[in-house]
Amino acid sequence: MAGILVYALHDDEGNFNKNSLGALSEAGKLAGELGTEAAAVIVGDVSDDGAQALGNYGVSKVYRAKDVPEGLAQPIVDVMAKVISENDFSYALFGGGLLGFEIGAGLTARLGAGVTMEVTKVKVDSGKLVAERPILQDSQIADVGYVSEPGIIIGRLNAFDIEETGGSAEVVDVDVELSEWSTKAEMITRGEQRGADVDIEAADVLIGGGRGLGSAEGFDGAEALAAAFGGNSAVAATRAVVDAGWYPYAAQIGQTGKTVAPKLYLAVGVSGAIQHKVGMQNSEAIVAINKDANAPIFEFSDLGIVGDLNKIMPKLTEAIKAKKG
């Protein structure tokens, strides 16, 4: 069949991940260009209706492994390796996300397959797929082709747009015997929310706080700045500070956090790592305060201030308050 197989991730309620749906749409489109078909793999207890509904995103078939748990990579490597081998898929495609990286990497080893990650675009060239991958902190874009079949493509967050095509997919249940080592990791709790439930997605002005704020207390200054803007403003955070327990997980922007596009994103003490950038690069205006002139965030800021936030932020807060009167 030589098609494209996509892993569709879902939460414990069976809601499919937005990035997975984007990957399904992308696979459907590419399969059309290649003259082949796209299919999805799902694991866990997903209803017939839920599985068939993936047809709306461009896949004709859904392989479902009901008894395999969702949330850990290695059992899913077993499932995908089997489906790929039995049906001769030429490519495996993943939307941006952590699990896709792990499953894609596992397949690389299992099938001796080439892998490209952080892919921002996929194109068809002479009947084959070529992946565009930004490298060296996005300073260059490499066009990567595959020697092996299958080729593994791991997308960057938000790289692929969701397109609803209408239609319903055929559901094929698969039985997979898990590898011995795939059963040696056990999920104790999944998707735990840490810290307060804050809403950053609706804000027009977001103050993005990073490790440069120095401590949990440093966020008081960021909150005061947000308050000075008044109205619809909030404080967001990087993974580094969320993992450190300085700020709630619900405020995290990026690959394993939220995607936002406020009118103003004002970053204080944020380096601008790729995994953070993908969650906020569509903000209308980006302003960054960072003491390191070489911080990557200055590469994509509209206004960059090279300086110490401890000096600048309090004065800026006062000035904005005064301006608002």
């Binding site: 490597v77 699990l99 499953i103 060296l136 080592w181 800021s301 600048i312």
Partner: protein, 263 residues
């Protein structure tokens, strides 16, 4: 028990990294350093050893890379590793993720570790994948991006952020774990440790020593090819203000925001 830590030599953070367009490989001629993300993996190994809940007999730093990579191993030893293993072979040059993962798995197999630790990413390749590749070859359970690791009987209880929040996962040993940079604050090596590092055993291995066939690695074994390199779409450069007089800086920021009706 034995912990192997995978470490890599990468261009120093201050070096402007570039691709040599003749070979389509990273230009490694400038100043190099131990991958900063790997110092967290070494620290995690040291904390397991010093914590005493597991009987850790040795921590072994393992790398694959050219001769110069021995310096990264010395830094790893200065940070606490007991000895190191250096896989170096001309046949390995140009290996992609698929080939590198296989080669590292082969050299690790020769050490039979109980735990393999590695960094969340290499600062140059930024692939985030080597851990999961190595784990599948070694037939061990694995988890990446781990930010908390506790000994729980004969298992490791690990926490990490995935797409829906924090996951807590219990791993039976042997296991492969890549650690996130939030897991710990790496120690600084003491002068004594730096001086002593050269005296610790460094075991050089060739590809054939660990049973790697030349066809499996390097350019021959790689399953991806870089077809072209292009500059990213040009974005208009932003305005930059160097903060010299903060009152003036703040005035400029406010004016900039005001002009765009953002206040």
């Amino acid at each position: 028990m034995k912990i192997c830590v995978l470490v890599k030599e990468v261009p120093d953070a201050a070096v402007q990294k570039r691709i040599d367009t003749d070979t389509m490989r990273l230009d490694r001629s400038g100043e190099n350093n131990l991958n900063p993300f790997d110092t967290h993996a070494i620290e995690a190994a040291m904390q397991l050893k010093e914590g005493g809940e597991l009987q850790v007999d040795e921590v072994v730093a393992v790398t694959m890379g050219p001769d110069s990579a021995a310096r990264a191993l010395q830094k790893a030893v200065a940070l606490g590793a007991d000895r190191s293993v250096h896989l170096a072979d001309d046949s390995l040059a140009g290996s992609d993720v698929c080939a590198t993962g296989l080669a590292l798995a082969k050299v690790l197999e020769s050490e039979s570790p109980d735990i393999v630790l590695l960094g969340q990413q290499s600062d140059d390749g930024e692939c985030y994948t080597i851990g999961a590749v190595v784990a599948d070859h070694l037939k061990m359970p694995s988890l990446t991006q781990v930010i908390k690791m506790d000994v729980d009987g004969d298992k490791l209880r690990c926490e990490r952020q995935a797409e829906y929040g924090y996951d807590t996962v219990s791993l039976a040993l042997p296991a492969v774990i890549s650690v996130g940079d939030a897991i710990n604050e790496p120690r600084y090596p003491s002068l004594k440790a730096i001086m002593g590092a050269k005296k610790k055993p460094l075991d050089g291995k060739s590809a054939t020593d660990v049973g790697i066939e030349a066809s499996q690695v390097g350019e021959d074994g790689s399953q991806t090819t870089v077809l072209a390199l292009n500059p990213p779409p040009q974005k208009e450069a932003g305005e930059i203000i160097e903060d010299e007089d903060t009152a003036e800086t703040v005035e400029k920021i406010v004016a900039w925001l005001d002009e765009r009706k953002l206040i």
